[in-house]
Symmetry: C2
Subunit: 157 residues, 2 copies
DNA sequence: GAGAATTCTTGACTCGTTCAAGAAAACAGG
DNA sequence: CCTGTTTTCTTGAACGAGTCAAGAATTCTC
């Protein structure tokens, strides 16, 4: 864990104004991994009870555009966000419960950017999602729904 | 490509009933690459003018569940579908116009399933999205907003 | 064909997300 | 520290992809 990221500094370096709302959103993104928008709103309101959902939506978009956050959205899921420090990690997603875990880039160096035939595309990022079952869902019979995650959809065997 | 896939047979093998609507949806998925739901509805209605959108939604979900179609949904985009024949190809997505192109699996054999540390997950598929700019968007100057920017359209390979 | 089960039609509805206008902050200059 | 300008936030409504539900139509089995 990097001790204390200087969020105001980071915002200014991106040409963004430093607001309480944005700092709170950044705090939440560091605290919660892969939080969906609603979770972010709820968490931010523990610190700033009166933030509007719109401010959170705006912040998330702006932070994402600035590269301070990353947005991920596995197939049927709602948008989720994570603080991003420029590393290139990927995600494990459980088909049953929607849980998300981080994985380091598969091969270590920069293999991810190598498409076999880029067809003229200027590729700058490779996003990898490993689909499967998380340990608890793999062990549990399909009927058991121990909802450890707030994923709304994810009704699958 | 297999010249004439036997869709009725494929449906029956998956334990699904053979309906005109489902056959039409399958036809469309073969014809259109990476079509969004609305495009599928429109295309299906050229053959069956009175299909309900609901029937198309149902068909797409059922075909996806049965493995006869694949659903892809790059980050901010709406759901898109493609006929799937069991191969494991990936996608190039243009950040600017949303165009999608196919790429063969990066290394050829089954490297994609190898996460560096699967953390107990039972991985059965790796989905890779290469983000970048398609040839025409890469050539066009960004200041001149020349085309559809919000990536709602642009279905082409 | 007739019966049972699935699927389609119709139409309303949910919910994540965006839009728009005015109020409130944040920053720059004095 | 105060003022003006610009950006951001609040408020509240709107949008739209996707879903739900009830009844009619179709498909499959016998």
């Amino acid at each position: 864990m990097p001790p204390a990221p200087d969020f105001p500094q980071m915002l200014r370096e991106s040409g963004l104004r430093v607001t309480r709302q944005r700092l709170a959103v950044l705090d939440v993104l560091v605290e919660l991994a892969h939080a969906d928008t609603d979770s972010v709103i709820t968490a931010v309101r523990r610190e700033l009870p009166d933030v509007s959902h719109q401010a959170v939506y705006d912040s998330l978009r702006i932070l994402t555009d600035a590269g301070l956050a990353r947005r991920i959205q596995p197939n049927g899921s709602v948008a989720r966000y994570e603080a991003r420090v420029g590393d290139n990690h990927h995600h494990l997603v459980c088909r049953a419960c929607g849980a998300i875990a981080d994985v380091d880039c598969a091969v270590g160096h920069v293999p991810c950017l190598t498409a076999s035939d880029a067809q003229g595309y200027a590729v700058d990022e490779a996003e990898v999602i490993f689909w499967g079952l998380c340990p608890s869902c793999a062990a549990a019979p399909p009927t058991t729904s121990h909802a450890n995650q707030t994923s709304t959809t994810a009704v699958h065997a």
